[in-house]
Amino acid sequence: MNSADQTHPSENGGFWSDTGKSGITSWIFSTDHKRIGLLYFYSTLGFFLAGVLLGLVLRIELMAPGRTIMGPDTYNAVFTVHGVVMIFLFILPGLPGAFGNLVMPIQIGARDVAFPRLNLLSWWLYISGAAIILISLFTGGGPPDTGWTFYVPFSARTGTNVTLAVFGVFIIGFSAILTGLNFVTTIHRLRAEGMTWGRLPLFVWSLYATAWVQILATPILAVTLVLIMAERLLGTGLFDPAQGGDPVMYQHMFWIYSHPAVYIMILPAMGVISDIIPVFSRKPIFGYKMIVFSSLAIAAAGSLVWGHHMFTSGMSDTAILVFSFLTFIVAIPSAIKVFNWVSTLYKGSISLEAPMLFALTFILLFSIGGLTGLVLGAAATNIHVHDTYFVVGHFHYVMFGGSGFAFFAAMHYWLPKFYGRRYAEKPAVWAWALMFTGFNIMYFSMKVLGLQGMPRRYYDYLPEFATLNLASTIGSWILASGLVIMLANLFHGLLRGEPFVGNPWGGATLEWSTPTPPPTENFMEEPVVTHGPYDYASLKFELPCLSSKQQDQANQETA
């Protein structure tokens, strides 16, 4: 790989200006993967912020026992919309849609994805589905109040606008399937010369594993959602015992998709972390092949564990035994990743900049979330904590502490590359510290509340749960203030910050060998890959944290 182009962004606008087109249509009808990636980024970020606001409202309601700012019906609708927005409009499309699109084709040395128009269609489907979900909030019987899981028989009977919301999710599912198809084809067919499977960056491997889950599992969600619509509109009785149906069958079908969907959310996040940790440790990744294997193993084994959501639903004991066992199997590849990241850090020259802080936080929070997942995976303990705040704490540790913090890490690591400007480091670190503190106060309190027996999905609770609920709400404010500082600093920096040129992080993957921002077709000449993605021996050190003398010394040592 060649050393990075040193052109200043003001002279080289890259994909921002080299097509000569401008205006909104140059974005919403663009087939350039980077523009589509940014479309996904801003759409998903917008929905994330909407979800955050709803979450804050929920926490204010739970600040004290009794009615605080809303009644039970409104509370049901707010937590449902919070879940639907966060799951279907933010986490699922967030990392693959935004950063997968932005970075993956460059990382494999391609000019674009295999099907650029299909890529644009995917974004349009996503936005159309999102618009339908938004319309469902204000039409018909009002926002759905079923929870994001749309469980029957309630979802078949409630008078709220479930049909339209489910149809919106159905459309978004097709967006995910098409993105998956596009990514699998791109990774198989468009790798640059020398970019062997053993030289693929781990973010690409994680997207590859994710794409397969998107292709194979999402159609089952589509079928399930169609069946809810059929149940509501035609009264088919498929899930109604009075008509010979089986409500537990709905839960099987829903979780056959929705548990693998958890891995659609977490696998790309793990890929981000696998790319960031070695760069900021100045060390090749430990156990590249095992991390690849574990991504594929998580995708495969993670698709077979859906039954652990249903231990208390009246499922057979045999099924409980099998699904509990398989859940423990998934812990093995997850642990392999964690051990490999920690081993990469061992004796590394660690640079604690914002992307690395978010990445390290991912490891801690994901480990806490993952280990509490085993409490839920074991049938005996699951019975005690099922549908309590322990579950809410657990999945927020994995989804927000995991995927969310990886999303923030990716924002700080990659966005400067595409804007040619960077954020200020100190406010970023302050924001991280606030978010880390607020997050743990907010969600650890929930775990303890769950163990004490507080059920989830109620707007009220017994007085003995008041103190920890208040702590959790205060945590949510600390977390939100950190989030505001982080976003303000990041976007101020991207628009007006210091120039970000060359390869300041010292990455060895292909995106750091293109001009900043990259041109529309990514490379000035077709790259030929001659070494692995974490082989730093061939790089010149340009780390801002090192003095010029230290940089020269480091370069001599690695020469």
């Binding site: 040395g109 391609a110 000019r111 295999a114 084809t185 067919r189 468009l190 790798r191 640059a192 010369e193 292709i215 194979l216 089952i220 537990v248 069958m249 099987h252 056959i256 698709s303 077979l304 039954g307 009246g314 499922m315 057979s316 004991d317 045999t318 099924a319 099998v322 699904f323 077709e526």
Partner: protein, 99 residues
């Protein structure tokens, strides 16, 4: 060089005789699906019907959709997809059969 997505493969023409034979086999299997509902097999009745359905779709994919004449990669990808679906359906029977 970036690989280009062009597949110029000669088309395969399957004889009327072979297509008719496959069609007749499909009809026979459809009849078998109806017959199996009249035999008392408990939960295994569903498995039997699904097995016949798999065989029928396999024939359609192989001959009518020409998968028999495609490369190994495409065949493996399709196999992976169908195997996943089979596993998804199969695993739900850990619940349904033992309730």
């Amino acid at each position: 060089m970036v690989k280009v997505l062009v597949m110029n493969k000669p088309s395969h023409i399957i004889s009327y005789g072979k297509l008719t034979t496959v069609w007749l086999v499909l009809l026979t299997l459809t009849g078998l699906t109806v017959l199996i509902t009249r035999v008392e097999l408990g939960g295994y009745k569903v498995l039997g019907a699904l097995a016949i359905a798999c065989l029928k779709s396999g024939l359609v994919i192989a001959f009518f959709m020409h998968m028999k004449y495609e490369g190994r990669l495409l065949r493996w990808l399709l196999f992976l997809t169908l195997a996943t679906l089979a596993i998804f359906i199969g695993f739900t029977f850990f619940d349904v059969l033992y309730r």
